[in-house]
Amino acid sequence: MKAISVRGIHKTYPPIKGKKSVHALRGIDLEVEEGTIFCILGPNGAGKTTLISVLTTLLFPDKGEGTICGLDLLRQRGEIREIINVTSGNPNLTDNFSVFENLNYYGMLYGIPKALRKAKIETLVATFDLEAFRDTPFNQLSTGLKQRLALSKSLINNPKILFLDEPTIGLDPQISESVRLTLKELNQKEGLTIILTTHQMDEAEFLSNRIAFLKEGEIIAEGEAEKLKKGLRFGDLIRFHYIGPPLDLDRVSALEGILKVEVREKQITILVDDRRKRLDSLIRILLSEQHIALQDVEVIEPDLEDVFIELAKTPH
């Protein structure tokens, strides 16, 4: 079953205080399978938060339709809110309520009976290591603890889909890592569908089963991280380190399947259509060069950041 299935979602923000209107989403089509971690990547202003807000019913789309766990996004908003939850980076909960009071209050907003609520709070407090801070007001918690509390709050109703808007922003690397591991565990053990936005490519790559790149309100690429890397890089990078005089680039460039050649001091980087097909001929031609001694060969895997940069600068 599809956790999310939306088609043709458009959203334009009306002009505010002399600023122009913003067409934030331009016909978003999105399908997310249940039990996956789906990441929405994109530069600032791409429409990530707007998309999350539409999917969580906090924002009405101008056009488009869809379902969240089979419930109509436009007509069954109340029912949708029963089965989802959301949190974001720099979380804001009720300032002078303690950890327990915040969780209890949000639990009540979901209509959870007292006994169940208390049991759930105990589990969450233990899972997120918040026991020592049960009675600490939210505004006295560190950023990391606030984020852990926000994540606890977002699980209070046992959601089927958890929406996370930049969940590790502002956290130190150690806490970010523990948040990521917790999310992964929740997904793997409980089958929780997670939709997250992030700027951090390593986070997206570590967590996500699928990734969508959002740019200027449109999804310009979507798929598994590995396939995106392959598909958008248009080939593989092979780098040779050598000792000797400058190389004859024309001979290398003339080979079949060579897309781009770059030479720096004692290294030549070659973009090829497929490394398995071209590596042998490249090595042969380089070895045939007189006075050249090959020192090392690297096959460079593109990372998601390369894909992101490539996509961000590509006109669409």
Partner: protein, 267 residues
Amino acid sequence: MSLLSLQKHLIKTSAFALKNWLITKKRIFHLFEILFWPFIGLISVGLLTRFLGLESRMVEFVLIGIIALSVVQIGQLDIAYVILYSIWNKSLKHEMVAPINGFHLIAGSWVMGIIHSLLIFLLLCLFSSFAFHLNFFSSGIVRLSLFFSGLAFFAVSVGIVVCALAFRFGGRAHVGAMSIVSILILVSGIYYPVEILPGSLQFVASLIPLTYFLRYFRSFYGFASGDSDPLLLGFLLSAAYNILSAYLLYLSIRNAKEKGIIIRLSE
């Protein structure tokens, strides 16, 4: 509605009562607003009546007005605060993403509004008896209860309007609350009979339920009520305003969800 569904609605509603209770308990400023200003208002006006040498009937007229105003002010404050506090905390989206509706929000916060305004009503009545020899309890507990109920019922619409303004203007809606109360002071006969107002303002006064609740209660202190059943009129008008303001709140939330105001208020 099934029992389970009813239980869920009750829990969601009581969440907002709990929220306001915790705010009162933890935020000294809120307690200050509930207790301090009504007492300052009552004492200063009470002393003014002494300075002016008003006869006891006139003192009763004015003090009934100021106590009624305090009840409306405190009653609406809890309803308004339930949203304003979330806006000040930037936590509004977490509440709005939960499966709650306007009824839960208003009914839950009104519970605390009733408790707070009843507390201030009784304290002000007792203090008036002690300091200014105004015996509120002479009218009887039923009349006193009806008077209080009318004021508390009317306070709901004021609170809902402030909530609706909050979904449009954010934290600045607090100014709206002050403005509404100022208009009530001007036109609904708090300090003087509405009959001394110019014709157009008398018409405005006739549209405000507080005018009728004051007429009802002052009639037990020798003032003409002017209407055959001011209490019923007050309740009917309040009910109409509660329905209208609830619709206004619905429109405001809808507008906020169309324009992205909830997201903006949570950033």
